[in-house]
Symmetry: C2
Subunit: 568 residues, 2 copies
């Protein structure tokens, strides 16, 4: 796939006298696997689009030979490596065994899907979603009209993409089952997940969170029946396992190539394994997490490409290095773009960081400009040295822009002041003069240095004090704040300061955050203590109140499960 | 405006015992001036949108007093500063003179439009485009049906925005006159400008480049007549001067506040001037160019905001600093986003850098993904140490994303390897696994280390050698390359290597660049010298061939005016 093909093509470019062979156990190589959900969903109509070049030529053995200068053996499995003799033992589709000598070997065996932790029957309608065949089989079944109801098990990246794929064009009634309490667990903090979830308003989708599967059987028509731990069952026409992937290291382990605690092959910055003349790259290796400086595992096509190139460079005697990853990703889900980089607050806490965080909501361009869309984001930082740890954003606007920039900030171990100093290309068509990143920096500095607390909306029920809603009456009417509150427009807060002053904690509420911050500032300045404002405003709060998780809890929060930092 | 209002609000927040006054000579403050072209053009229908908060409250004196804790004197001119007595001399609209004491003074007098270098008559229909009144007057005239034909003098940011404003909604026949040979001169290198220009396909627009105005008179109906240096004249209903801005330092100069060679006030990183207790911020100051480390001038609202905050922080005893600017901008022009950061190649050469550059074209997401759009870009770097100097991009996709990230790279004085190492949030909906920035890095490294030349399309006529077009026949048919070429699809290049080998220089051509690079690589690998490929492919080349400049030159280039680096 990405790492192997890139390494081979690069090596051919830089080493004119090498004979390079790619060995692939599947019938074809270089499928754009990140495109498979779009083929399954019908956005990409013809499978061959995923294996064609941009100018319509299929990337087959001929193509690799003539254009990339690389020989390709498909339908060929490498069963073992003899690291002393420097040869590999191969087995082709005719069951013929043969050996090949190597001077340099790159292992790019990629990732394999994680097995479900429950029993399931074998059936064409119970499938992983990992290989081209998985997506082809599904498309065939859909096009024959065999799929009206589907179940996706796992709410990670692929599970979310498949949720959209199944419903948007095909209109399949889809149940998505996730054992954690929110979608994209581990990738997003809960409140950001709930925001994502609240935007999944497709009538065809049923989210089942905090639910586990017990077993999957098939009925007499070979249709799957999913039995849940809660003793209910779901009849379905198709079941997908989207439980994530793990490094495919079977071959490496046989050859005493070292793997790490994430089960990936351990490599240095030039992608060298512990065995001489063997490199590894792509989804089968662990990489350094640039925030923690520890080994981590990320299965991203963009990293695989870069690693493949570095491995080739190393073999070819060039000194480039793969420094590690910030774990940057983005994902489209219906109208939203979701992106994150660095650590979530949950992960950072687990790793022992004393975290601070702020949550915000902004228009993606000035309010006066037509077609304004809202962006929501969460910044996580280290309270001890104000170093940036992570960013999560969701919205219909240019989320990827901020995520990419933040990744670069993380690479440079930047702090809150660097965030405030950040320059961006401002035009009213695409941004505000103060970018969301500047804004998050300001909020965090104000929280740390001036004691103006940005209150996490997920913790609202823990707040024992007075709410003051500083929006205009027409705003409150159209999107009421779902707690008892005093209602005073911002322009009157200063005038009514004396009558509003209280011994109790006060939290200000507005639509997106800035006005409640202003009000909090006015109070603090006049000597009030224990003043906070609701991060992301009532817009963020009212959206997460609409999420499945919150609704299921009947508007009372499960506090034990909620992690946060900002309230004392 | 931005700097003054920001500084005042910030100062109020951090200094609880200060009495803060904003003095403004116009009748209102805090107009979003970057929004004026959109009001003129009708995208923003109601002028009050530009002075309202997001929740519909007008930012007037009352608002500033109650919400920001700041007093405002409008219609008041500061005529002088007595720096010894620490007081300012003011004059209000009733011609009353009075003095005000200060402990700390921040000068945020902004910028004023540059005066035309020719004579013109005074008329309501001959106007700068700078103040709210300018845009209001124009809107009134348009809405009365008085404007069918307009002339814009100056093709910089505002000139370009006004070109769209006048034509898109109002359908005004518009002539834009620019004395340089391309639009956005100084901001973009010529080839990128021509690309921008080729997308200006509005039938209502006439571009007059390399043209100068001699004088402007009015006819008996008071309609402007623009006389050109070439002795032709243009009758018009409205004329706009969009000749750029310069720092407004009249007050500062009176008070012996030092200005620099760009005529802006000189400040340190805390925005302090040379006079004790006087700060300056926004469009009236010079800032450090982070690439050259020399003083420079940028008139951007985003910088003004940040400077205002830093000035307030400095007065309030906080230690934040304004490090300088990479000169990052973006601009929407019809369907394109244009963005740049750092130095153009032309500017870098003038400053004495030995520059290298590469030009590219990419789909903004994988080819198989629906709604793919093309991005075009140019990277400029220092050949001596491979340090990044600048990036220019144009396209319908997420240009701002790459510009913002590159600005951060420039901030860190990054080099080509850093560009290659760059991580981005990859999803097929919004990007390719290898980002355009990675790609530009690869091309530049290949050019420097492997001798594969990226040939600047503007210089094509200087190439004396053989062109080989490696596209598929159907592509050549639909978008022919306008030079004599040998046509061999990439997959056959290697097979026909021996018969194609030549003593002459060879340049490969494809649609966007990657295939011609591959072909160049194959040739170089087999010992051929003097091999290059056309940067940005025939797509870039054919677009700039459609630009006004090239057309006017009757398909022969004005070589003397073209600057480049890459050809020996």
């Amino acid at each position: 796939m990405a790492a192997g093909c890139k390494a081979a093509a690069r090596l051919n470019r830089i080493c004119s006298n090498y004979h390079i062979t790619i060995i692939e156990k599947k019938p074809c190589l270089s499928v754009s696997s990140c495109g498979l959900p779009y083929y399954a969903g019908g956005d990409v109509d013809d499978f061959s689009e995923l294996i064609k070049t941009s100018y319509g030529v299929i990337r087959d053995e001929q193509y690799f030979h003539h254009v990339k200068g690389v020989d390709v053996l498909t339908n060929t499995l490498v069963s073992d490596i003899n690291t002393k003799k420097k040869e590999i033992i191969c087995c082709n589709i005719k069951d013929e065994t043969f050996t090949l000598k190597y001077d340099s070997l790159i292992i790019t065996t990629g990732a394999i899907p994680k097995e479900p932790p429950f029993q399931y029957q074998t059936s064409p309608a119970i499938s992983f979603f990992h290989s081209p065949l998985d997506s082809k089989n599904f498309r065939e079944a859909v096009q024959k009209g065999e799929v009206e109801k589907a179940v996706i098990i796992g709410g990670g990246f692929i599970g979310c993409e498949m949720m959209e794929a199944l419903t948007s064009l095909w209109g399949i009634d889809t149940v998505i089952i996730e054992k954690e309490k929110s979608l994209l667990p581990g990738c997003l903090d809960s409140e950001i997940s709930y925001l994502v979830e609240s935007s999944v308003n497709e009538s065809k989708i049923k989210l089942m969170l905090s639910e586990s599967v017990n077993k999957i059987e098939t009925d007499i028509n070979n249709k799957p029946i999913v039995f849940l731990e809660n003793n209910s069952k779901i009849n379905s026409d198709y079941v997908f396992f989207c439980l994530g992937v793990k490094p495919n290291t079977k071959l490496a382990l046989k050859s005493n190539i070292k793997t790490g605690k994430h089960s990936g092959i351990i490599v240095d910055e030039q992608m060298r394994t512990n065995i001489p003349d063997i490199w590894a790259a792509g989804d089968c290796v662990e990489v350094k997490n640039l925030i923690t400086s520890k080994s981590d595992y990320f299965s991203f096509g963009s990293l695989a490409n870069r690693m493949g190139r570095i491995a080739a460079d190393s073999i070819g005697g060039k000194s480039f290095s793969f420094k590690g990853s910030t774990g940057t990703f983005s994902l489209k889900l219906f109208d939203n773009i979701i992106g994150a980089t660095g650590l979530t607050e949950e992960k950072a806490k687990k790793l022992g960081f004393i975290t601070g965080s702020v949550i915000g909501c902004w228009p993606d361009r000035p309010d006066y400009y037509p077609e304004m869309k809202n962006l929501f984001g969460k910044l996580v930082y280290d309270k001890e040295n104000l170093r940036l740890l992570g960013l999560q954003m969701v919205g219909e606007g240019e989320v990827t822009r901020y995520i990419d920039v933040f990744s670069e900030l993380l690479f440079h171990k930047s702090n809150l002041e660097d965030l405030v100093n950040l320059e961006h290309g401002y035009t009213p068509a695409h941004s505000s003069p103060i970018s969301p990143l500047n804004n998050l920096g300001y909020m965090a500095i104000n929280q740390e240095c001036e004691g103006i607390k940005n209150f996490n909306p997920l913790l609202l029920s823990t707040f024992k004090g007075i709410f003051i809603d500083v929006r205009e009456p027409y705003e409150i009417e159209s999107n009421p704040f779902q707690q008892n509150s005093i209602q005073i427009p911002l322009s009157e807060v200063k005038l009514k300061l004396d009558e509003l002053k209280s011994e109790k904690p006060v939290m200000f509420i507005c639509e997106k955050g800035p006005r409640s911050y202003e009000a909090a500032r006015i109070f603090t300045k006049h000597g009030c203590k224990n003043i906070s404002y609701l991060g992301g405003g009532n817009l963020f709060y009212s959206r997460i109140m609409n999420s499945h998780f919150i609704k299921n809890l009947d508007n009372t929060f499960d506090k034990s499960k909620v992690e946060t930092n900002s309230v004392e």
